[in-house]
Symmetry: C2
Subunit: 230 residues, 2 copies
């Protein structure tokens, strides 16, 4: 396992949908932070190509394979797939993610009206994923509001990452991963609170369109202590 | 009607729930910006006392009365009441707000778990208000994320105000009002998008508790043009 400067181990990560824009950007950030990353795709050839490209970039090998294959081998699974195949791909990995954290980045955008909030009946995509996967897997959600092209560039990103999950320790693992990637990550509360960040993505798309913004994001204002309360 | 520096007229405003923390803070900001404000309350005596206090502060008369009485006399009505009496108070003013904008500040906080997102079946409080009032009244929503005590203080507030509504012109009226009050207000899209800001309030409460913040807020990041696209 990779380690933070402080010494805590960081999990190995499989990025399901790792050839998409957000997935590729996350994989690159994680790999450059020294974290062991695997690229998954429905098309194993595409995953292999993307992994070879990333390996050349970072100067060490990057694992790849089908979504289920990489999910089976990693400590943690990041889900970065289009919303219209969210549950389908969760079905493909369900058998191999028991006991693991699934970090779901899904936002319930429903084309053509992607600038309109359309949350699912479960309240949000993250809760829908948790209900679908059952209690042996822990769903944490994050990265809803960061524009993929800003994440793909090097350097800081002017957007806070809100992390949601029902177990503080699992949220903390994701907060540490995001922090290792150079992002400012904050505990946002229980998984139901993911509705706020998921809905906000449609508002950010509206703001991009209305004010000609190239990837609006959010920052939490107010005095922030370095560490959450014990 | 009061005028902006640019010359456009601003509506007179009745604040329903104007003796509460958020209502009083909004009434004071509006009044100090030169806007004609009336204070409404379920208790007309309390409204009169609050109006006298505000009048002494700003040096001119402030109207007051029951919620329905002030709503009947004003161009626009701001609803700043606790969520548990949201629909009840909408019922008290429904007959007198036809043809007007009702600016709803309601956030669906459900005690005791106010740091947990619990959106209503209609999607959000603002849409529930619009369904309740019917099409002769236009609901716009805003001010979900600004801490009342920060609004009550003079000077700038480090929190953007997202404004939601299905009619751009009515949203624009609210954007202009908030701007006149010294706030940075942005069009956030259709009324359904209010779900994002309403849900975010529970996340901000969670952040306040977790990181010892005295009134967390949000800022939209990215390049913002001064004016929305035509």
């Amino acid at each position: 396992m990779a380690q933070e400067p402080g010494g805590l181990p960081l999990p190995s990560v499989a990025v399901v949908g790792g050839t998409g824009k957000l997935g590729a950007a996350l994989a690159r950030r994680l790999a450059r932070a020294g974290i062991a990353v695997a690229i998954g795709s429905r098309d194993a050839d595409r995953a292999r190509n993307a992994a070879a490209h990333l390996a050349a970039d970072i100067g060490r090998a990057v694992d790849s394979g089908s979504n289920a294959a990489v999910a089976a081998r990693a400590d943690m699974v990041i889900l970065a797939v289009p919303y219209d195949c969210h549950l389908q791909i969760l079905g493909e990995i369900r058998a191999v993610v028991a006991g693991k954290i699934v970090l779901d980045t899904s936002v319930p955008l429903v084309p053509p009206r992607v600038a309109r909030v359309q949350l699912p009946p479960e309240g949000c995509a993250a809760v829908a994923a948790q209900l679908f996967l059952g209690p042996t897997t822990t769903v944490v959600s994050a990265f809803h509001n960061v524009a993929a092209h800003k994440l793909a560039a090097d350097g800081p990103v002017d957007c806070d990452v809100l992390v949601f999950g029902d177990h503080k320790q699992d949220r903390e693992t994701v907060v540490r991963l995001a922090t290792a990637c150079g992002l400012c990550a904050l505990h946002g509360g229980g998984l139901a609170n993911s509705a706020a960040a998921e809905a906000l993505t449609s508002v950010l798309i509206f703001l991009n369109q209305t004010y000609s913004i190239d990837g609006a994001g959010i920052r939490i204002t107010g005095r922030l202590d370095a560490e959450p309360r014990a």
